[in-house]
């Protein structure tokens, strides 16, 4: 599948459970009600793996990197880091109840 590849799929993850989406020029993120993150990318090889995320509360997709806000307030950033745009390891935006 070249275009519209659904890279990250799981039986319990589907659009029906999506509570938020974020799109960039190259792909789409979806946040599910149970805190998982779906990643749909134009080129499957560029998609990011968020299968380990279970407590996401917000998402934001970029062209080459993406960010996920976790419930405790930390920010998980994955993708291209050539400009240190993924250096968010020490961030804490505040917990989301």
């Amino acid at each position: 599948m070249e275009n519209g590849a659904v890279v990250h799929t799981a039986a319990d993850l589907s659009w029906e459970n999506a509570v938020a989406v974020s799109a960039s020029s190259t792909g789409t993120l979806a946040l599910t009600a149970d805190g998982a993150v779906l990643c749909y990318w134009f080129r499957a090889s560029d998609a990011l793996d968020f299968s380990d995320v279970t407590d996401a509360v917000a998402i934001s997709a970029g062209a080459t990197h993406t960010a996920v806000l976790l419930s405790e307030g930390t920010v998980l950033t994955r993708g291209l880091n050539d400009q240190s745009q993924c250096d968010t390891a020490d961030w804490n935006l505040g917990a989301t109840p």
Binding site: V57, S60, G62, T66, A67, L80, Q83, Q85, T88, N92
Partner: protein, 563 residues
């Protein structure tokens, strides 16, 4: 539990759609204030003032017992035997201090025990109009409020003031306490709106003596505003109506203690526009007109027969939840009544509740405004009650609503996060200054463009009720070559959104069409400005410093605004 009263004390009432509509929230809140608060009597006094504004009791005796009828009789000659000459020439009104509407309402709260008042009538009548010896003096014996600080006065033609009511520090503080308690009782993103409504007797004192008075003024409201919490808004009805009264508009009845539609309309117009929600025009309301309305007071007094010069024209507009008619008594047929309020109601929300199907009408409007089909959800949204939605709706909807908005944003090569304290973090490329957010404070949402970052500041928490939301300013960081509109000095005032939109920043990502543009939500259908095809096209932001109207819409289209 109260040991002295041997009963369970009232818990803080839960605000819900049903409790709002039927008035039980307000009533329960008053009981709660009475039961739970230290110094409750003092606070309750202030609370009564507030509740009194919405207590449109249908028991005319409560009003009649205040002595207004006697005053009215004095106005017009005090007798049913009225001369033809008097019919043509209104008798000047004696300059007699009258109880404030809040005091009247306070009495109505308990007929057996008239509520004390800290609103002290003036002791300085016009020199040429001595006070009658038996003029009521509603001075609160329990509050030695001698520190007079603010007043409500009529303005004489020579510019001097004829003070009608003086408000002492105690009165201001008591009212502020009660308002603040109301603020605490409503949801965090809720608000409390308060205004003193001048008594019609004061209005008539002016309007029936225009050769003596040219206006009125009050400096009470600003003082009260300074004593209340954020989220409490005090409006000055007195000052708002001044111009309209001077223009001869019928903002008050001559013959009735209720408000005519026009006076109420102007005040609600002020309130709604202050919150960025325009009212429809007065002419656009559905309304009923009676040309021979003599007023409930004069009808009871039976003293105005033949005084056609004082007969009012009754106009009953139909606002959000319509209130269509008043207690109406024809001069000669007192039995002819059209009940405005439901007789069993005690507490009355002026603009939200009216006749028997008001709930259905209001719910329909709520559905229209919010786009929510479910009545309860629609009303809850209007009232800003997310908790109730969580209890009654699909967990998925709840989860969607709980997604933080504007907390996290990703640009082309940078990442931005909003902290709970309103400051902003940024990481990544900063060639154009898109990560220069170190000085940002008070931000409520962030968004990224390819080369820029936008933060939104809100003066009030976002609420599903657009009426209570005001987003006042943005800050922006980004490339110097971009024609930022006075990026450091000009506040932009954005009013968000139709009420069903999520917090105003939600669609604030770049639009698909513009790499350096931002999308702001707006409930209006027109774009704010043209696209920035050239730097010169947007030398200043067209919204700078302006208050933009927001319309209620059936749907909630986010509309593009270009930086």
């Amino acid at each position: 539990m109260s040991e002295t009263e041997n009963r369970t004390l009232q818990a803080l009432p839960k605000l819900s759609a049903s409790s709002w509509w039927d008035g039980s929230f307000a009533e329960g809140l008053e009981t709660y204030l009475s039961d739970q608060m230290p110094g409750r009597d003092t606070i309750l006094l202030g609370s009564s003032r507030i509740l009194g504004l919405f207590d449109a009791t249908t028991d005319e005796e409560r009003i009649l017992n205040t002595g207004m009828v006697e005053k009215l009789d004095e106005m017009v000659g005090g007798s049913e035997e009225v001369t033809a000459e008097a019919e043509r020439t209104p008798t000047p009104v004696p300059e007699t201090p009258t109880p404030a509407p809040s005091d009247v309402a306070a009495e109505a709260e308990d007929e057996d025990t008239p509520a004390p008042s800290t609103v002290i009538p003036t002791e300085t009548p016009a020199a040429d109009t001595p006070l009658p010896a038996d003029t009521p003096q509603p001075v609160d014996p329990q509050v030695a409020d001698t520190s007079i600080v603010r007043q409500f006065s009529l303005i004489r033609t020579d510019g001097s003031l004829y003070t009608q009511f003086q408000f002492g520090q105690n009165a201001i503080e008591d009212t502020a306490k009660a308002l603040n308690l109301y603020r605490d009782a409503v949801p965090e993103d809720g608000s409390v709106v308060f205004t003193y409504i001048p008594y019609s007797m004061d209005a008539n004192l002016w309007l029936l003596n225009t050769d003596s008075y040219i206006g009125w003024m009050s400096d009470v409201e600003p003082t009260l505003q300074a004593n209340v919490k954020e989220g409490v808004y005090v409006f000055s009805t007195v000052n708002e109506l001044n111009e309209h009264m001077q223009a001869g508009e019928a903002c008050f009845y001559k013959t009735d203690h209720h408000w005519p539609g026009l006076g109420a309309f102007y005040v609600q117009w002020l309130m709604m526009h202050t919150f960025g929600v325009p009212s429809i025009a007065y002419e656009d309301f559905e309304y009923t007109v009676h040309e021979d309305f003599a007023g409930s007071i004069t009808g009871e007094a039976r003293s105005l027969a033949g005084r056609r010069d004082l007969v009012d024209r009754l106009e009953a507009p139909t606002p959000l939840a319509p209130a269509r008619a008043f207690v109406y008594r024809n001069l000669n047929e007192l039995v002819k009544e059209v009940r405005f309020m439901e007789p069993e109601r005690k507490v009355y929300n002026v603009f939200l509740r009216g006749y028997s199907d008001a709930r259905d009408r209001a719910a329909a409007i709520a559905r229209q405004i919010t786009g929510e089909e479910d009545e309860t959800l629609a009303v809850n949204r209007m009232l800003g009650i997310p908790e109730e939605r969580a209890e009654e709706t699909d967990p998925l909807l709840t989860a969607r609503e709980r997604v933080p908005r504007g907390k996290l944003a990703v640009g082309f090569h940078h990442t931005v996060g909003l902290k709970d304290d309103g400051t902003v973090l940024a990481a990544g490329r900063n060639d154009e200054g898109q990560c220069d957010v170190s000085g940002w404070t008070g931000v409520t949402a962030v968004a990224c463009g390819v080369y820029h970052t936008v933060g939104l500041k809100a003066t009030a928490p976002w609420s599903p009720r657009a009426a209570t939301t005001r987003v006042s300013a943005t800050s922006a960081a980004g490339p110097a070559w971009w024609p930022w509109p006075a990026r450091t000095t000009t506040p932009w005032r954005f009013f968000p959104t139709a009420p069903c939109l999520p917090p105003a920043i939600s669609p604030l990502r770049n639009s698909p069409a513009g790499r350096t543009s931002s999308v702001f939500p707006r409930a209006d259908a027109e774009p704010w400005a043209s696209a920035p095809t050239a730097a010169s096209s947007v030398p200043t932001h067209p919204c700078a410093g302006r208050i933009w109207p927001v319309r209620w819409l059936r749907t909630c289209p986010p509309v593009i605004a270009w930086l």
